[in-house]
């Protein structure tokens, strides 16, 4: 055995050991994927982001066009009326009013004033600086937004997002993923009933003799929890099982359950309702905080979430089911799609 034989052996040995490291060496020598993960440092969540970004882009385009043209104002028709069955993929714009006929198919529509889309139409996105009306059985593939009131008829598919800086009223059988309005309503008329004004009425409510007073025991439960009807609870409730709040009870805090939270008729919650396996409001519940669930959220007739002075969120990782007569001040998110009615 001479010197070259073990040398050769060890060389082959080390080459085979080091071969798995060779691709990494290529990346280390000439890096192509060495940048940090991108974090958008300016990112701020805005439920009307689509519409506002769209308006901004339109404005930029129009300004550019106007600078090249004779007038300072964009050359737009004051009013655009499309007949029934119109089929176009471009962007329709008008200064005062857009009227889209029945059964039309459009790309984007943007009105500096009002916008009305007649029934059974299909549209990519629609924005109005005035009021917006989407009539029944239409389909929105992208989003809709209005500065004024937005009214959506029955059976409309609202696409990815529907928002309004004012009231958003949606009809029966509508499908949605994200709704934003101040408020979002599922009936023409606002819910009108007495609700306490927190925190002003807080002390008064605590002082009320409401039958059953639950204090210390209600803070935490390792099992299911049921609050009898007409109770007043002066603190947060946390349960590992399901929680049921009896009719006309008042909870001056947040209700958290790792199971399902059920609110019977007329329950008032000062804080939020968090039910990991679902939230079910039977009806006429008033929730001043947020509603959050990893499963379905059902808001029965007359349920109110949030209040005019404070917007809140109803979030479901699966589906949100809204009955008629629901009012939510703020945002409704239903990741797997929600329905009305």
């Amino acid at each position: 055995m001479t010197w070259w034989q073990p040398t050769l052996l060890m060389m082959v040995f080390f080459i085979l050991i080091l071969l798995p490291f060779f691709p990494g060496l290529i990346e280390l020598r000439s890096p192509k994927d060495d940048l940090p993960l991108r974090i958008d440092m300016e990112y701020i969540r805005d439920p009307r982001y689509f519409a506002l970004a769209f308006r901004q882009r339109v404005q930029e385009n129009l300004t550019r066009e106007a600078q090249g043209g004779p007038g300072a104002r964009p050359r737009l028709q004051p009013m655009v009326t499309l007949g029934p069955g119109t089929n176009t993929s471009g962007t329709i714009m008008a200064l005062d009013h857009i009227e889209v006929g029945r059964g039309s198919k459009l790309g984007d529509a943007y009105s500096y004033g009002d916008l009305r889309i007649a029934e059974q139409s299909e549209i990519e996105s629609a924005a109005a600086d005035g009021s917006l009306l989407i009539e029944s059985d239409s389909v929105i593939r992208g989003w809709i937004d209005s500065e004024g009131d937005a009214t959506v008829g029955n059976g409309v598919n609202l696409g990815v997002s529907a928002s309004s800086a004012s009231t958003l009223t949606i009809g029966e059988r509508c499908e949605f993923q994200r709704l934003w309005g101040l408020p979002v309503r599922t009936s023409e008329e606002p819910v009108s009933r007495y609700v306490p004004d927190f925190p002003r009425d807080r002390e008064e409510i605590i002082g009320k003799d409401s039958g059953v007073e639950i204090e210390d025991a209600a803070r935490w439960s390792s099992r299911d929890m049921t609050i009898p009807a007409g109770s007043t609870v002066g603190r947060d409730l946390v349960a590992y099982g399901d929680v049921r709040i009896g009719a006309n009870s008042i909870v001056l805090g947040t209700v958290k359950s790792r199971g399902v939270v059920t609110l019977d008729e007329g329950v008032i919650i000062e804080g939020s309702v968090i039910g990991q396996r679902g939230v079910n409001c039977i009806g006429n519940a008033t929730i001043f905080g947020n509603v959050f669930s990893s499963r379905d959220v059902e808001l029965g007739p007359g349920t109110v979430v949030g209040r005019p002075q404070a917007f809140k969120t109803v979030f479901s990782q699966t589906r949100v089911l809204l009955a008629r007569g629901v009012e939510v001040f703020g945002w409704i998110v239903s990741e797997e799609g929600g329905t009305v009615g």
Partner: protein
């Protein structure tokens, strides 16, 4: 060799193999869950016009290089300034940190620096002092080398809408990935640790960990447990277990991402991992039994909690098992080489060591990485490196117990230019 000794050594190897298998299964479950299951959402999905007031603590010791960066980022946050109080903690600095904080304190009324010149040095002690001055119930903590994005404070504060949440933790993303092999490996490790490990533990309702920075807690809860223990270097792990064993939860916000600066020097990294191991082991001594006995934790949470507490003991178990192998091998006791012993040998030497690899690879895939995946085999070197750092940390922790002293806090060196 004495047959009884052979039997003991074999038994120990089987024991370590079982432990390694349990850790491997845990990693695989986390990885499969994160890759394929619908993930539990964090409360940042909530938009709420009524935000809670928050106090933000920024511990600093000789942070002149990075102090302005973190303060500027917090000033540019979209959180209403009338609901925000920032307390940068100048902890015995000898550089320009105090001067910088004074300038910012004079300019922004909601920045109220705390200058510590006496008392014990170190993050837990500094935080305890600052918490006494904190005006608000919700307290967030950022290390000085972090750069929180505009909505970070809002995202983290929103976790406390849940009355069960005692602490919240965001995701840490290394910014200086381009420095060296070390920073690239740390990037991969961080990815696996947060994108898969923390998120899966949050989704599976186990024990996501409060990490001491890019996170926060309720002041009243912390005070109720006596504040941070300055004798424990891993005050974050200590708080996590103190919370869970008392019925509180830690929420993990995978969307709340924040840049950090990774160590660019292997020596600095060694000391960092050693300090983590030391602190974590101290916390393990304190919380092992309370975790097993807690009425607030279910079986799986207890199991995950114990495994998490023991994570820094694994390298030492591995090394000792390998030593046993060597002795058995040299004494000829492996000669029969039964299937069971061989399987244990393979598990100890192979699977267990690299179970986290699957986690890291999956996390990198989810993060949209591509060529950086080729660097995964290099983690084998980092693994051996970490083993020694962790063994050092374990030794330190045992000495701490023996001496009953207070360990000296060692700050991680900064590399930003």
């Amino acid at each position: 060799m004495n047959p009884f000794l052979v039997w003991i050594l074999q038994l120990y190897i089987y024991f370590v193999a079982v432990i390694m298998m349990v850790y491997m299964i845990r990693h695989v479950i986390f990885t499969f869950n994160r890759l394929n299951k619908n993930q539990r959402r964090f409360y940042h999905e909530i938009l709420d016009s009524e935000l809670p007031p928050v106090t933000i603590l920024v511990p600093m010791h000789n942070e002149e290089v990075v102090a302005e960066g973190v303060l500027r980022a917090l000033i540019e946050s979209d959180y209403p300034k009338d609901l925000m109080e920032i307390i940068p903690i100048d902890d015995h600095s000898t550089d320009r940190t105090e001067e910088i904080l004074r300038q910012y304190g004079e300019r922004y009324p909601y920045i109220r620096p705390l200058y510590r010149r006496t008392g014990m040095r170190g993050k837990p002690a500094g935080l305890n002092d600052a918490i006494e001055r904190a005006s608000h119930e919700i307290v967030l903590v950022f290390d000085a080398d972090y750069q929180p994005p505009a909505d970070m404070v809002k995202q983290l504060a929103m976790a406390f809408v849940d009355p069960e949440v005692g602490a919240v933790m965001g995701r840490v993303v290394p910014e200086n990935t381009r420095g060296s092999l070390l920073t690239r490996i740390i990037d991969l490790e961080r990815s696996g640790g947060y994108q898969v490990d923390q998120q899966a533990r949050f989704s599976l309702n186990l024990i996501p960990q409060y990490g001491g920075t890019v996170g926060g807690f309720r002041k009243s809860v912390l005070l109720s447990i006596g504040g941070f223990n300055p004798r424990i270097l891993a005050e974050d792990t200590d708080l996590t277990y103190a919370l869970y064993t008392r019925g509180w939860q830690v929420a993990y916000a995978n969307r709340a991402e924040c840049y950090e600066e990774s160590p660019e020097d292997w020596g600095v990294r060694f000391r960092q991992v050693r300090r983590w191991a030391r602190g974590h082991t101290q916390a393990a001594f304190r919380h092992f039994l309370p975790t097993l006995g807690s009425k607030y934790l279910n079986f799986w949470q207890k199991l995950d909690g114990v495994l998490l507490l023991g994570v820094y003991a694994v390298p030492t178990l591995l090394l000792t098992a390998i030593l046993c192998h060597i002795v058995l091998l040299l004494s000829g006791a492996v000669a029969p080489f039964t299937l069971l012993l061989a399987a244990a040998f393979i598990i100890v030497n192979a699977y267990g060591n690299f179970a986290p690899f699957f986690e890291v690879g999956s996390a990198t895939l989810l993060d949209g990485g591509h060529r950086r995946l080729w660097l995964l085999p290099y983690m084998a070197f980092a693994f051996v490196f970490n083993v020694w750092a962790v063994v050092g940390g374990l030794k330190d922790a045992l000495l701490d117990v023996a001496r009953e002293g207070t360990p000296q806090w060692e700050k991680t060196e900064r590399f930003r230019q």
